[in-house]
Subunit: 348 residues, 2 copies
């Protein structure tokens, strides 16, 4: 249906969306007719606007005000009118220079990416580290805490460190633990966590009556350590920048937004949606059915290393976001991070 728009209607819609992105205020017919030289009088523009409003692409806050694009209007703009520039060589180099990845831990990299994304876009940067389950096993260590409690430390191929407290047989000695981790490290090295789990399941079944005490303990410990999901890690940068946007300028909206950012659950849910897809994805607030993030749009892209560990990064801003500027930044940053993660892998 939307594709049946005449060229004139498309041009006017585009002009309205772009004016609105720039000004955050309702766009009137006179402004459109003057600034963009369509050679149309305000009255003609008004006729088109009335059509667009009927189609649900525009709306007016009150009778005698200009129009603003609806969620559907933005969607149409993004789907069919938005032309995303690719960065030229200079811009790519500049972007590359914005990031400092030398000698950084995975955690630092994620944080840095969020910070830079937020700084460049002037919106809020989001980064979700690769999920535990999508990582590749590299090394595991067990450290005794108190009686019967162990600290498990897991390192993935990309240097992502996760740890977790597990309960264990109190009779295990430090020597035992060393042997167990050494055994696991040689057995599981290079497997994805998915594969690790399958393998552990198999071995547990095969060795139901296993007389090698240490092997049995090793299986038991690694099960406790690697079977459950480990909480997603998410980094939010520049939340305060959102408070400068006119759509979130009332105290109520500020509270709502900061609460939504604080809970992180919402954000994780939202970022998860993009996990399966490739390339840049755009989610428009109104369709997200997240009341607390109403009025927000999200631009995300996945990053991954060659072994397939997938994380997501992106920018969240008002629906009235500067898509043509932010999309290429998110896109190229994801590529950049992917390359950095590959460099992290040891060349053994």
């Amino acid at each position: 249906m939307a594709d049946t728009l005449s060229e004139r209607s498309q041009n006017i819609l585009e002009a309205i969306v772009e004016d609105y992105i720039a000004s955050a205020e309702p766009v009137g017919s006179r402004a459109i007719s003057r600034k963009h030289n369509f050679n149309l009088s305000p009255a003609s523009v008004r006729n088109v606007m009335a059509d667009l409003e009927e189609m649900g692409l525009l709306c007016s806050p009150h009778t005698s005000s200009g129009r603003i694009p609806t969620g559907k209007g933005f969607q149409y703009y993004i789907d069919t009118l938005l032309s995303v520039r690719t960065l030229n060589r200079n811009e790519k180099q500049n972007l590359r220079n914005s990031y400092r990845f030398q000698n950084m831990r995975m955690e630092d990299i994620m944080q840095e990416v969020g910070r830079v994304l937020s700084g460049l876009s002037q919106y809020t940067g989001l980064v979700m580290a690769p999920k535990f389950i999508s990582t590749v096993f590299r090394q595991i260590e067990f450290i005794r805490l108190s009686q019967g409690r162990l600290l498990m430390i897991y390192v993935s191929e990309t240097g992502l460190v996760q740890n977790k407290v597990i309960e264990a047989d109190p009779s295990l000695t430090v020597r035992d633990l060393e042997q167990i981790s050494s055994y696991l490290n040689s057995e599981l090295n290079g497997l994805s966590i998915q594969e690790v789990r399958t393998k552990l399941k198999q071995e547990l079944q095969e060795d139901r009556v296993c007389y090698d005490r240490l092997k049995k303990q090793a299986l038991k410990l690694s099960c406790a350590a690697l079977q459950d999901e480990i909480e997603d890690q998410i980094y939010v940068s520049g939340a305060s920048l959102m408070l400068g946007q006119p759509e979130f300028s009332t105290p109520e909206q500020m509270k709502r937004l900061i609460s939504a950012f604080e809970s992180k659950k919402l954000l994780i849910e939202l970022l998860d949606r993009g996990q399966s897809a490739q390339g840049v994805q755009i989610f428009i607030g109104s369709d997200s059915s997240q009341v607390d993030l109403e009025g927000c749009s999200l631009i995300t892209s996945n990053f991954s290393n060659q072994k397939g560990a997938v994380g997501t990064l992106g920018v969240i801003g008002p629906v009235r976001m500067n898509y043509s500027q932010v999309v290429p930044i998110v896109d190229f940053t994801a590529q950049l991070v992917s390359r950095v993660l590959d460099r992290e892998i040891a060349q053994d």
Copy 2:
């Protein structure tokens, strides 16, 4: 000077502060004379208020409004009028039950403490994990990332995990690294980082011409790993609750506050101030010389295990905070966390 206040003046000041804490609005003479039965007419109360204003303990936002306490007024109230209840057995048990510390990593514990402090006080919870330098060495591991780059993982006695990327001689094999960490783990176990550093310095001087290649590498690596400071970890919970306080209800103040919370540097600076002192400490916003945290007060207490690793936790709220309610919560929580940390230590 302030101690020369007559009993009547003290009573009235106390009444004003407490009314203001409850209502967040200027307190008038009539309200004081009615609610608290001093048997004084409003006019008499006014006389006293005029004195208190002259002494800088009160001020009035405009000519014909009630009075509000100044920073100095709050300081006086805290120093000489505030009587802090100690929690009774029931309340202590309730508080204990609010926390779930089972099988938690240090990180989780810190986060949980922040969350609960914020929930109970309805202000913002702050927790700063024990500083790297105040921890006691437990275990160190090295994992090869790419050519010449190692991931160092350090675990303190309380189970605090820190990691860091360091550069290293690319010729070191995995076997070498195992031997190095095993050597360091036996040499440094139980020493405070402070002691570790002294020891490393000594050994480096003694063995300037050392022919044991591995020992030399071990010293070099541990220096790179443990010599520098590792960034402070700070947890902020319930920032959005502050936005509900009337003193931060304008958009400008909200932005200022959220920005201040986001930078974390300010908060670390503030929490550091309390590190040396013992027991509960109270900082009043206006004296903090932190423009961005104007209007905020901070209640902190340190926690530590028997080996002396010190962290700080607390609550940040408006100057008009309910001190008599929050102080005991912060106090007891710090004791609770200290005990939990001691339980974490292995009984070898």
